[in-house]
């Protein structure tokens, strides 16, 4: 069973790195959707285990919520926001893409060295899963600062949230149900507000490049 979680954690890490290598907003959304589906699969397997062993179906409910929210609802919302924005391809980055990918690689190494010092995580599989899922958080953060467009930053935020959820689920076998629900509701509120803000920014400045927010508008 552990080997399945190993593979899934690796694939989740991989999807976040592929996200960094993309240029098109449509591909961002697609990759985010795949990553969320992988997370839902992880939660599904874990929930099934806990249902069989302890008879609790908390994690299965969380899994269903992830499928509804992150695989179906939020990508659709993002597509809608994306449809209202004029430019579809992100052209200028602060750094070029190969460099971004290599920096992500550095982040993973950094996480490996910092996590391996935490006592209690030294069991092989747990260590691997926590390293991979913790890197997803940092890569999400890095994705956020490497993109200039507001939509990219929304996706970066969502990836950070995915990373936190995966870290929690791998290291604790599922948080209390009420905490998960609280996080999801916070997240959906944040996404709705951000979506509206992106549309407003686009309307006011004719672009969602956040560098242009420095310009004054009367």
């Amino acid at each position: 069973m552990d080997s399945y979680f190993d593979i899934l954690s690796v694939l989740i890490l991989l999807s976040s790195i592929i996200l960094v290598s993309h240029k098109r907003i449509k591909s961002y959304i697609k990759t985010f959707r795949i990553q969320s589906a992988l997370i839902a699969l992880t939660a599904g397997i874990m929930g099934w285990n806990s249902l069989m062993e302890e008879g609790s179906f908390d994690i299965l409910v969380v899994c269903v919520i992830i499928v509804l929210l992150k695989v179906i609802f939020i990508p659709r919302l993002l597509h809608k926001t994306y449809g209202s924005v004029e430019y579809k391809v992100e052209k200028d980055f602060f750094l070029n893409i190969p460099l971004l990918i290599l920096i992500c690689c550095g982040l993973v190494v950094f996480v490996y060295f910092s996590v391996s010092n935490i006592s209690g995580l030294n069991e092989d599989h747990l260590n691997l899963q926590v390293v991979n899922s913790f890197s997803v958080i940092l890569i999400g953060l890095f994705f956020m600062i490497s993109r200039k467009w507001a939509l990219g930053q929304m996706i970066g935020f969502l990836v950070i949230e995915n990373g936190i959820f995966v870290t929690a689920i791998f290291s604790t076998n599922g948080m209390p149900f009420i905490v998960d629900i609280g996080i999801f509701i916070d997240m959906i509120t944040a996404i709705l507000i951000m979506g509206i803000m992106v549309m407003q920014i686009n309307k006011q400045f004719d672009s969602i490049n956040i560098n242009k927010l420095k310009n004054l508008k009367g």
Binding site: I101, C105, H125
Partner: protein
């Protein structure tokens, strides 16, 4: 004695199978476009026809131009001697390791670049500069992924690596090997000039890489160059098929039957891989040339992450 016979058989199988791989990929692409397409054996006919024709050599060409087809073909064939197609029978102890294999292929590629520059045509120069760029970009990821597997197997000998992989069970459910497998798939696409990197079917001067280098060749020389490229493609696919999709551990009975069964399974895996490559070709578009560093960086990071996962797992 048996080992030498085995090596000869493996050379023969690779030489015979190589043009068919191309045929399978082309057939898959044709079927996806609802065409009937050329027969699977088309490349054999092409090679046969080309060998009978005389080859035209430019007056300004030096000996490099004439020697290159033979060098390309012979390095590819020597590479085919190094890659075991079955792990049931031990290969000769003379057989070199995987580093030698990749640098033999690089030798052929080096001469190909030189010969394209030799005649002084503009397309040749363009093609060889592009080829040099792609190969230097993809080389780090080749080395890292190969060394990762070598580290786990405890040897750089290809035969030992393949033996070690048969004991892993299913490598695609292992965090290290899935990453190196994906890296190797990108390496195959880049090394054999497949679609995201280079389009093998067009002769459009703006995009061609591999064809630009073969543009001046004709007749027997062209046949040797194309055959060499096909063998190289099959060598890389053999590596992937035997390292990441090993099936020899499933064969429990000894004897000649097991050997034949192993070769049949090997051909099936190669066909499976060529279908995967065909699907990749169908579903992606050719990248802009300056986007290739992104792909190479992705391939590098895949292999590097695989390397890192090995240390995280602590084995």
């Amino acid at each position: 004695m048996i080992a030498i016979a085995n090596n000869l058989i493996q050379l023969l199988v690779i030489l015979l199978l190589a043009p068919m791989v191309d045929g399978v990929i082309r057939k898959c692409k044709a079927l996806s476009q609802k065409r009937q397409g050329a027969p699977v054996l088309q490349m054999y006919y092409d090679l046969f026809k080309l060998i009978q024709k005389e080859s035209v050599v430019s007056e300004t060409a030096s000996w490099i131009y004439k020697a290159t087809p033979y060098i390309v073909f012979s390095t590819a064939a020597a590479g085919a001697l190094l890659v075991p197609i079955t792990t049931l029978v031990p290969s000769t102890q003379l057989s070199g390791d995987i580093i030698l294999l990749f640098y033999l292929l690089a030798l052929g590629r080096f001469f190909m670049c030189l010969s394209a520059l030799d005649t002084g045509s503009t397309f040749g120069g363009m093609g060889s500069s592009r080829e040099a760029m792609i190969s230097s970009l993809i080389e780090p990821s080749i080395l890292v992924s190969v060394f990762t597997i070598g580290l786990i197997a405890g040897s750089t000998s290809i035969y030992q690596m393949m033996r070690a992989m048969t004991e892993v069970g299913n490598p695609l459910f292992h965090p290290v090997f899935i990453l190196t497998f994906l890296a190797m798939l990108i390496i195959i696409l880049a090394e054999t000039s497949r679609i995201p990197v280079d389009d093998p079917a067009t002769h459009l001067e703006l995009t061609m890489v591999h064809e630009a280098m073969l543009l001046e060749y004709s007749g027997r020389h062209l046949a040797l160059m194309e055959y060499g490229a096909a063998i190289k493609q099959l060598i890389l696919m053999t590596l992937v098929a035997n390292l990441f999709l090993p099936m020899d551990q499933l064969i429990s009975f000894p004897g000649v039957g097991a050997f034949i069964l192993s070769i049949v399974l090997y051909s099936l895996r190669v066909i499976f891989l060529s279908i995967i490559i065909a699907i990749t070709e169908i579903s992606t578009v050719k990248f802009r040339f300056f986007s290739i560093p992104n792909l190479a960086a992705l391939s590098f990071i895949l292999s590097f992450l695989g390397f890192l996962q090995y240390f995280v797992l602590g084995r």
